[in-house]
Amino acid sequence: MGIDRREFLRRAAIAGITLIGGSSPAYAKNIDKDTILFTGNIANERNWKLYEKTHAAITKEHYGVLVDTTRCIGCRRCEWACNEWNKNPNRPIAEFEKSVVGKDNVFKTIRRMHAGNFTVVNRFYSSKDGKPIYVKRQCMHCEDPGCLASCFVDSYRKASMGPVLYLPHICVGCRYCMVACPFDVPAFEYYEALNPQITKCTFCYDRIIYEGNVPSCVEICPAEVMTFGKRSDLINLAHERIRNNPGKYIDHVYGEQEVGGTSWMYLSSVPFEEIGFRTDIGKTPIPNYSRSFLFGVKMFEIVGAWPLVFGAYYAISKARKKHTSSHETPPEEKGESHGGSH
């Protein structure tokens, strides 16, 4: 079935190119609305169940995807394929393809992922030659993910191949992972009253664990923007491309070191902040910020505070006994009540 499906997609993609043209203005206005209002995501749960069954057996090698933004043509077929595979709300592929030429289209705003989509393509204009640059965004699948460390009921997993997976059966819906994510990836089903979930890209865990399969977005791409492979190989490939094409790329592989490294990495012809990436997030993994604090609190609570507080208590009760035995009223003390807690 997988082959049939792939063949179908390829044909659909070829057919799509011939269909470019015309416009449907209502679509652009509603595109974000559909995905914000979406509820009932099933892809995350499916992947989590698969993870429970398979994670012990699969390879420990980290995989990733290298995205070469200089190659992207903005056809948005990756969005379509992603929605299709993950059963997110979708539209005919032709509607995605014609955004690149449509006037009143989705590229007019910079979009982000919402409850009903795991990936978006945004358009920027090059500061070098004024030509459009299309940038696909999705979960970066950090090597040391902030969402995972921030979750207070432990409802994220980092699969050994690289995907960061969300376990909807534990999540309480506090949305702290959304605060912690430096790339603003996790989205929330705000319009589900009883059982809202976080939704995010799964790195197609349910595809890539099978030999020879790649994520659905990578598979459909007609311009070979994305390369799926071992993360270490991809880093070499990225630097090779930079070396072999002088002047084409800036000398920076986004994701190689950002927040401790990510599974998805990017190449660009212009500085990354010009195409919607945060370049001020540093190289420190997000969990490190909380780790040192949690260590401090433990020290404070277990090692530091107990002797201090008990010491203060005994010293004071001794002093109080002296006072009561000599029948003096205690002298007016300064109210620095926080002294003992340091």
Binding site: A193, L194, N195, L294
Partner: protein, 405 residues
Amino acid sequence: MADHTNSWFREKILLGMTPRDYIISNFNFSNLIAAIFVGTGVAVMIYRLFFGLGPATNLSDNYPWGLWIGFDILVGIALAAPGLTLGTAVHLFGMKQYHHFVRPAILSSLLGYIFAVFALLFDLGRYYRMPYLIGYSWGFSSILFLIGWHFFLYINICLIEWSPALFEWLNLKKAREFFIKLTIWATIFGVIIAGGHQSALGGLYLVAPGKLHPLWYSALLPVFFLLSAIFAGISMVIVESTITHKVFKSQLKDFDEDKYNRLVIGLGKATASALFVYLILKVFDIAHSNTWGYLNTPYGYWYLVETLGFVLLPALFFAHAARKGKAKLVQFMGFVTALGVILNRLNVSIIAYNWHFPASQKYYPLWSEVALTLGVVAMLILAYRFVVNRMAIMREHPEYESSHS
């Protein structure tokens, strides 16, 4: 009809009145206002439960936390620190002269935490899974996990600290004796627990270095939150005692105004010293991270309003009032300090959060979010009044006077 029944319910709950008299006695203007707030709040709660967070709030994927976290939790918990500060001062540092302030302080902490967690239930997507935190799934690497557990423990601690008043009211002498002995241990435990989670609330934002404005973001965030919780706690004692001494005046026999004023000024001194320590650390922090440049931006001006107007200014006035013995000024500055803490928490959680966003994309609360918050605050005040009118919080229980804890 029910006139001759002298039931427990009538005595304890209805303050000795008949149900009819009790209801009539509650028909007044302030209760009407409270009823409106509570009514709207409950309506919003029901709306949120049936329609979800999307329709009930202005929250979005970029702003996962809004007023319900920023005010109900961050502000609420900071202002619920009186139990921490006063409990420590009296039970641990032996400042017995403040013991009249302890029970109201403990009660406000207890109710503050309970209602903060109650409000939090409406912000959680799957509120019914809250108990998962306690026994089903532990996220040890999360600061929120630490906070959740500390809230749970601290509410229990406050219950223990408050329980002597409850048992006096129920006339259970044995239970009261037992829990009085526990109080001191609960206080010690409480200092550690409260210190831990007050700082952890600031620690929550440590993981968002790219989202919180550099003037507010700091490796010292937990220290700032702890220190400001301390002066928030003391200033709230000043604020509460100012209000309660007016509202519940009838409960205070042989009230010595001079002595009371002296104590208030003492609280003012304590607040001032905490404010100064906080301010010095803030300056060091800006110097260390070299964020001086940001001060000359709109966010910088706002930062200066917060730190100069609501930290430095009250600190100076507290010091002045203490020297001149002006209790009224201390009381007023107590309000200013508490307002400053509210401002600080809202700045960190909402205003300076996602600071690189253009104004058009920034979050502002929907009316329903404000209504729910106000409703919860009204509930808290009603619950506080309910307890104070019945239990020995402001006054001393006639039968237990000599052994007041």
